[in-house]
């Protein structure tokens, strides 16, 4: 009952077709503006892009109705966020996502990594956990199986054969940290922004779909006109064309690869 009521409110809001989309500064904001906004405008929307320089506020704003949709996070992050904050948001569709990579100016292969090397990892929990999982996948560390996948931190490392020394820093700073430390786990979006070549990575994250970014809306609006339009645009051929042209190296989700 109540869902439908607020749904109709949502529809009322759409009547004006003035919408706000949120993203963090970087490629996903660009993806919105280059690959999605043109489609929306074609459908008669007036779109305002809000760029955030942090990972919390885009969801807070989405929940509060300050923005209508966002694109910056993957499914696991979204779900965890919903749980932590008691919010009801929903992912509409996954989009191509740049994988996190392990970069180094010191070593040219994983094998060359020396004992006690320093490694810069993101200091926000989600990206931090991602980095650790990537290291685990590459056999560099082992994480406590009891640790929550999404919250895993340096303290959950139970074996660390090369005695890697973790240095959590702000994610946006990581590309610059490749110089400052032996290794750096750089999220794909920042690596691309910093014009790093994804192919230079010692390792790229193995990226299941739940680690790919999604277009998210408030759960109330899951069935709204806007939601439908967003999905339609992302699924369109124009979208994929823009991705191929301007977002090289972004790993496409399963549905797109099909």
């Amino acid at each position: 009952g109540s869902g439908e009521e607020s749904g109709s409110e949502g529809t009322g809001g759409e009547a004006s077709k003035d919408i706000k989309l949120g993203a963090t500064a970087g490629p996903y904001s660009d993806m919105l503006s280059k690959a999605i906004v043109p489609g929306l405008e074609e459908k008669g929307y007036t779109v305002e892009l809000v760029e955030f320089s942090d990972y919390i506020q885009p969801n807070v704003a989405l929940d509060g109705g300050d923005i209508d949709a966002n694109l910056f996070q993957h499914t696991i992050y979204l779900e965890n966020f919903e749980k932590e904050n008691g919010m009801d948001l929903s992912a509409l569709i996954t989009v191509p996502t740049a994988p996190m990579g392990l970069y180094s100016n010191q070593y040219d292969s994983l094998e060359a990594i020396e004992d006690g090397a320093t490694i810069a990892i993101p200091n926000d929990p989600v990206n931090g956990a991602r980095a650790l999982l990537m290291l685990q996948d590459e056999g560099l560390v082992e994480l406590d199986p009891e640790a929550e996948v999404l919250q895993a931190s340096e303290r959950d490392v139970i074996t660390n054969e090369k005695n890697l020394e973790f240095q959590p820093i702000e994610a946006g700073q990581l590309p610059r940290a490749v110089d400052g430390s032996d290794l750096a786990a750089v999220p794909g979006n920042f690596a691309i922004a910093a014009e790093m070549d994804l192919l230079d990575a010692l390792a790229l994250e193995n990226m299941p779909d739940q680690y790919r970014n999604v277009v998210a809306v408030n759960a109330e609006n899951e069935g709204s006109e806007l939601a439908k339009d967003l999905v339609e645009i992302v699924e369109s051929a124009e979208f994929e064309a823009v991705i191929d042209e301007e977002f090289e190296g972004f790993g496409k989700p399963e549905w797109m690869a099909e």
Binding site: G22, F52, S53, Q57, G64, A193
Partner: protein
């Protein structure tokens, strides 16, 4: 670190928007800081030991709150104030929302500045007003404020400049503004052109504010 002129022209609308966002944030939070911080600063001063509305408990409580707010890192304040921001502005993003946190940070800052400006007033002038039989309100209005005017204006300048610096952090809540533009493009997107342009704009802005403040303070002072 080359500057590409084409890039500047391309992003000019963005820079303009950011500039107005900065002005909006500073305008609002400055207004609030003045309206709330000024009385608070006056209160801090006149309730202090040996002054005409001496009231130790009130003084201690206000002083304590002011110190606490000043001790909290701005980003924590920003987050802690989200419910209040929502309540007041109905939204938690954008320059208007960011102005709430900026205001809260600026109030105690400005209050202390006002307090310090008032301390510079010759105590004798205040005593002369008391001796004349003036009411506390008259003393505030006709002695404290006029006498500290020039110094308070310098304090406003300082507050504005601090707000410019703080507003750079408003990007966390999508506040935008020149500082945020510098961070988003310069820091997150490695766009040196925009970084240099925005930093230059900031420097010019700060210098202009400083000079305007100095000039006004000198011009209105009758000494």
């Amino acid at each position: 670190m080359g500057v590409e002129w084409g890039r500047i022209i391309e992003l000019w609308p963005e820079i303009q928007t950011a500039f107005f966002q900065t002005l909006t944030m500073i305008g609002i939070s400055l207004a609030v800081a003045l309206i709330v911080g000024l009385p608070l600063g006056i209160l801090l001063f006149i309730t202090d030991r040996g002054l005409f509305l001496e009231n130790r408990p009130v003084n201690a409580v206000i002083g304590f709150i002011v110190n606490i707010v000043r001790s909290i890192p701005f980003i924590i304040l920003l987050v802690a104030l989200i419910p209040l921001t929502k309540l007041i502005t109905g939204t938690t993003i954008g320059p208007i929302a960011a102005s709430v946190s900026l205001s809260v940070a600026a109030i105690p800052f400005f209050a202390r500045i006002v307090e310090n400006s008032l301390r510079e007033i010759d105590k004798g002038v205040i005593e002369a007003a008391i001796a004349v039989g003036a009411t506390p309100w008259m003393i505030i209005k006709d002695v404290l404020l006029p006498e500290a005017k020039a110094s308070i204006i310098q304090g406003v300048t300082l507050t504005i400049i601090s707000l410019v610096a703080y507003s750079a952090m408003a990007g966390v809540v999508g506040g935008g503004g020149i500082g945020d533009l510098a961070i988003r493009f310069g820091y997150y997107r490695y766009d040196n052109t925009i970084m240099i342009v925005t930093v230059v704009i900031l420097i010019v802005l700060v210098q202009l504010i400083q000079q305007a403040g100095d000039y006004t303070a000198k011009a209105i002072d009758k000494r």
